[in-house]
């Protein structure tokens, strides 16, 4: 898919955007569109081709064979990595009477999922469900309890619900959680060595190589920097009352983080709490917007690289430390390059195919 996306020409995308805008036009859209057409015969050509494709799609599924509901489910639950992940998970577990049964069930479920797809899987599942996104992809899905998880680009979560708890492992990347209130079953997000527990709230978790950042949009969460071993053995999660870890972790200082606050948890378990200056910014990624407020260029480029096949590399410490403020379309790294090169102090080296190198002149 990413390959196909890469091959679309920027002008083709622009033309397609005009076709879509002109379906429900405003006077302003018409004016801007006229100016765009007048700018170049290439624009005219691309627009004609895009509108030909658009018209061609009129006859789409006249036989009404396409089930939109199914497409949505397909999009919301990532079937692809589900089976292999689940199998790996099962073979990793140590055996025991109840585990052996789980394993058989898991394998049956995996086979069934292969044959009949996600529906059967959801009914039979006892092993965790895995949801993943590839580079540039975002998806949202509703969990069995009604909670909603929005998954950002290149992210992976493993969902396991039992009678006692709702447990989600953020294996990679970033996710926004909209948690349904259920006092009987705590909702826990486990990001590496960090456990975030929430009851009826909305919060964002972003996991990087350097640690995990938790930003709370609504309600309160409690963060513990180390996973109690009882929690990591997920076959028999203890009820909350005896959730006392068998081996006391190095640091068990739990921090409460409230709406409007965020906490950065280092890999060593250190928690730094601070106010979030702009909550909208925390969840802006859902609109595929990248919002920067005086951030170092190094961070800016890392964000862009999360979404795009095209990778940007910065050369030189001074360049990496430059500060940038701006709002960008996450899918459009070229707009960042344009922005950066407008004052002529930077050189952009595009000879590397999928890698672009920027250095100071």
């Amino acid at each position: 898919m990413s390959a196909a996306r890469r091959e679309t020409h920027p002008l083709a995308e622009e033309a397609a955007q005009w076709v879509v805008e002109l379906e429900e036009p405003t006077p302003r859209v018409l004016r801007e569109f006229a100016a765009w057409l007048e700018a170049s015969p290439r624009h005219v050509e691309e627009f004609l081709l895009a509108s030909a494709v658009w018209k061609e799609l009129d006859g789409l599924d006249a036989a009404r064979r396409i089930d939109v509901q199914r497409l949505v489910e397909e999009a919301r639950s990532n079937v692809r990595p589900l089976v292999p992940e689940a199998m790996r998970e099962i073979s990793d577990e140590s055996s025991g009477p109840s585990r052996a049964r789980r394993r058989v069930l898991g394998i049956v479920a995996a086979a069934a999922a292969l044959v009949a797809g996600i529906a059967i899987w959801l009914v039979m599942a006892t092993a965790p469900d895995v949801y993943a996104t590839s580079r540039g992809e975002q998806r949202a899905f509703r969990l069995a309890d009604g909670s909603v998880v929005h998954l950002n680009t290149q992210s992976r979560v493993e969902v396991e619900f039992t009678r006692m708890e709702r447990s989600i492992r953020l294996l990679e990347g970033e996710a926004l959680f909209n948690v349904e209130h259920d006092p009987a079953r705590p909702f826990r997000v486990i990001a590496g060595p960090t456990v975030i527990e929430a009851i009826g709230t909305r919060f964002n978790v972003y996991r990087t190589d350097a640690g995990t950042t938790v930003s709370v949009v609504e309600g309160i969460v409690e963060i513990s920097p180390t996973i109690p071993p009882a929690l990591s053995a997920r076959a028999a999660p203890p009820p909350r009352s005896d959730a006392q870890p068998q081996v006391r972790p190095v640091s068990v200082v739990a921090e409460r983080v409230a709406a409007g606050e965020q906490a950065r948890v280092s890999l060593e378990g250190e928690i730094v709490k601070e106010a979030v200056p702009d909550l909208a910014r925390v969840v802006a990624w859902r609109e595929r917007r990248l919002v920067f407020r005086g951030d170092p260029l190094e961070d800016v480029v890392r964000e862009f690289n999360r979404y795009n096949e095209l990778q940007i590399r910065l050369e030189g410490d001074a360049l990496r430390a430059r500060r940038l403020t701006g709002v960008f379309d996450a899918d459009d790294p070229m707009s960042l390059l344009q922005f950066l090169t407008r004052d002529g102090t930077l050189i952009v080296d595009e000879t590397g195919g999928d890698e672009i190198v920027i250095r100071e002149r």
């Binding site: 033309a15 879509v20 036009p25 005219v44 004609l48 081709l49 494709v53 919301r76």
Partner: protein, 179 residues
């Protein structure tokens, strides 16, 4: 995530005779374009000529209906192009056009086969698209929902609906060119 049951709206309204004639032109235009996607030169020539004619238009008129004017110009060009191809004299016969509107297959009989392959093309264009792109396309093109209705149905923003549609179109366009 349940989709609300809603009656499907017809994607296209019943068109008057005049707009049918226009549609016919339009169909000729887009058949031409879809067929010519593989032949970059033809599409370029057409666009170049359309561009020149478009610059000659009175600006105020053009800005009010840029899309309609462009289609009109390009359709005329295609019509001229086809007549020239068949070595026919360029004659515009409004009666013939009205007849064509009643029974589109007759004067442009060769378009039936073009049409057929175009349907297959739609199928093949769709196969590479992510499921949500396809869902948005189906809701728009088959069920005739507005952007805000689609946004509500799929629980995404209107901005995202437009973005998915535009990407879908851009990707379909590349798919046609590459096939």
């Amino acid at each position: 995530m349940g989709l609300p049951d809603r009656p499907a709206k017809p994607a296209r309204r019943q068109s008057s005779l005049a707009s049918t004639a226009y549609d016919l032109y339009h169909t000729a235009l887009q058949n031409f374009l879809v067929r010519r996607l593989r032949s970059a030169q033809d599409a370029q020539d057409l666009a170049q000529e359309a561009y020149l004619r478009l610059l000659r238009l009175e600006r105020g008129e053009f800005v009010n209906k840029p899309q309609a004017y462009l289609y009109r110009i390009a359709s005329n060009l295609v019509y001229e192009f086809k007549l020239r191809e068949r070595n026919d004299p360029v004659v515009f016969d409004s009666e013939a056009l009205d007849q064509a509107a009643e029974n589109p297959r007759e004067p442009f009989a060769y378009e039936a086969s073009e049409r057929l392959s175009a349907e297959q093309q739609v199928e093949s264009m769709l196969t590479g698209l992510p499921p949500l792109y396809r869902a948005v396309l189906v809701l728009r093109k088959r069920d005739g929902l507005s952007y805000s209705e689609i946004a509500r149905t799929l629980d995404i923003s209107v901005h995202t609906v437009k973005k998915y549609l535009a990407r879908a179109v851009a990707q379909c366009r590349s798919a046609v060119r590459e096939s």
